[in-house]
């Protein structure tokens, strides 16, 4: 590791690659696989998760000393569910199309193991400042992977990115890429590539 593992910048940067929630920690794979059939959905899901992650990290970090250890998971869920409801209503009010496309996966952010995992592993043990940085870093790390996945799947599956068609007319769309197997294939190749790059960096 080039950077010191306890510096403030590292708290943000680690989420982007070194401890990326999707590529390295393999957290939150359910939305990663389910909603990335288009780039817009990937961005929306990433941002919604980032918002929930950031807000609940702040709140839980603030109240971490008064939560009894025995009921901490339940307490986290209550906090997370509050912010998920906010996101859910916000999306339904301002972007009904995206809200419809993401469907049940917005309410399901409540049980996204990325958020719960960060609360348990980080926010409940660190002060508010570090928790904010951690939440931002993890959120951005989650969002860029989802967006890239969505872009690749949309490009091959529908010949467009962000609904702007860029492939020539003669392009035969790969139906499988917007179906669940396409998500598994693309994510598998992603994780394989990131492991390969990490291995080369170490050597």
């Amino acid at each position: 590791m080039a950077k010191k593992s306890n510096s403030l910048t590292y708290e943000v940067v680690k989420g982007l690659w070194n401890e990326n929630p999707v590529l390295i920690q393999l957290l939150g794979l359910c939305p990663t696989l389910a909603v990335t059939n288009s780039a817009v959905n990937g961005v929306a899901m990433g941002l919604a998760t980032t918002f929930v992650l950031l807000c609940s990290s702040i709140l839980i970090s603030v109240i971490r000393k008064i939560i009894p250890a025995q009921v901490r998971i339940a307490s986290y869920i209550v906090v997370i569910a509050t912010f998920v409801t906010v996101v859910d209503k916000f999306l339904a009010a301002y972007t009904p199309d995206i809200s419809k496309a993401l469907g049940a996966f917005i309410p399901l952010i409540v049980v996204n193991c990325l958020i719960l995992g960060r609360q348990e592993a980080f926010a409940s043990k660190n002060n508010v400042g570090r928790s904010i940085l951690d939440g931002i870093g993890m959120g951005i790390g989650f969002t860029w992977v989802l967006t890239l996945l969505g872009m690749i799947r949309e490009l091959l599956g529908e010949g467009s990115i962000f609904a702007i068609s860029i492939m020539p007319e003669s392009f035969n769309t790969w139906l499988v890429m917007i179906l669940p197997p396409g998500a598994f294939l693309t994510l598998g190749i992603f994780i394989g590539l990131s492991n390969w790059i990490n291995e080369r960096r170490v050597n």
């Binding site: 035969n172 790969w174 139906l175 499988v176 179906l179 294939l185 394989g192």
Partner: protein, 345 residues
């Protein structure tokens, strides 16, 4: 490594000194190696190129029936398979494995499972998928779980479900071939499943039917497959148990209810012959024990008839073999022969 030592051994000629017998022995290098001690002259390239020779009758007949498009399709797939293989060798920093012929076989087999009207660019996608994901991601030849050619076809089936089930009829009708480029026609299996028509068994035997490039002609595949069996490069148990199970199970179903096709139709239609002789017998992805080979063939046969009769698709050779590929490690594990003296469990 071991092979080299033994080759050197043959070349070393002891200096002639008849007086000293010990000297003669002394010149022989002492070889200490682990098993196997019996070596055969078979090698991976030899086996692979023999398989390609065995495929030639089917190649020739498919070019005869489908014309030049068949030739373009096969050469495209073979060349792109070779290029993908080179690329992966380069990325992995290993020696080029083109000469062992396995990539050529993968490309050729994949081309034979595609319909003649399939676009070449899509065929390239499938071939690259077969080589890169099907073979090299798993570690290269000998480590792949699934038959690469079938995996490539499964990917194409998932990507382009319409294009891969659009068949053209062979161009043997002189009058028709002057007017049009190709006539779309269903395969015998498709005709039976969706229209309830049967096809002429004689045409099915020779290959004058709609279908994928290499699968239509049963006779050419039997000739090539028979050659492989005689050379013992394919385990005879697998095609025998696979075809036998399909015949028996098909016959039982036909006997129960004559609305199902008769067993001969099962044997001659679709890609069964091609699959049974050239894909199920793939040395890497089929069980190594004799008992395992029987289980493999019977399992694939039952799956095939079930998919054909009760599934949504008219054809199931690809999925039946891929599914049995998936359980091959398990079959190997449970049919492992006992060591001498090992107690029963």
């Amino acid at each position: 490594m071991e092979e080299k030592v033994i080759k050197n051994d043959v070349k070393v000629k002891p200096k002639k000194n008849p007086k000293d017998k010990l000297f003669k022995l002394d010149r022989q290098p002492l070889i200490i190696s682990s098993s196997p001690h019996l070596n055969t002259t078979d090698s991976v390239p030899k086996i692979m190129w023999t398989v390609i020779i065995a495929l030639l009758p089917a190649v020739v007949l498919s070019i005869y029936y489908f014309g030049l498009p068949a030739l373009w399709m096969m050469s495209t797939c073979v060349i792109s398979a070779g290029l993908a293989e080179c690329l992966m060798n380069k990325l992995k920093g290993e020696e080029f494995t083109i000469p062992d012929g396995s990539a050529v076989i993968t490309g050729l087999l994949l081309a034979m499972t595609l319909p003649p009207s399939f676009t070449l660019t899509s065929a390239i996608i499938g071939t690259v998928f077969a080589i890169v994901i099907g073979k090299h991601i798993f570690g290269g030849l000998g480590f792949n779980i699934f038959n690469p050619a079938l995996l490539g076809r499964a990917f194409l089936q998932a990507c382009f479900p319409v294009a891969i089930t659009t068949w053209t009829f062979p161009k043997t009708d002189v009058y028709l071939s002057k007017i049009v480029d190709g006539v779309t026609a269903a395969t015998p299996l498709g005709l039976f499943k969706f229209e309830g028509e049967t096809s002429d068994l004689f045409n099915m035997f020779w290959g004058n039917i709609g279908g994928s490039l290499g699968e239509t002609s049963a006779i050419s595949i039997i000739i090539g497959g028979g050659f492989l069996l005689i050379k013992k490069y394919a385990d005879w148990r697998i095609p025998v148990s696979y075809l036998g199970t399909v015949f028996l199970f098909g016959a039982i179903m036909w006997w129960i209810n004559p609305k199902y096709p008769d067993p001969t139709f099962h044997l001659l239609s679709g890609g069964l012959m091609l699959g049974a002789f050239f894909m199920a017998t793939d040395m890497v992805t089929s069980p190594i024990t004799p008992k395992g080979a029987w289980i493999f063939g019977i399992g694939a046969g039952i799956l095939l008839v079930v998919i054909r009769l009760f599934g949504g698709l008219p054809e199931g050779v690809m999925y039946s073999i891929l599914l049995m590929n998936a359980v091959t490690p398990l079959i190997n594990r449970y049919t492992r022969p006992k060591f001498f003296g090992e107690g029963s469990k």
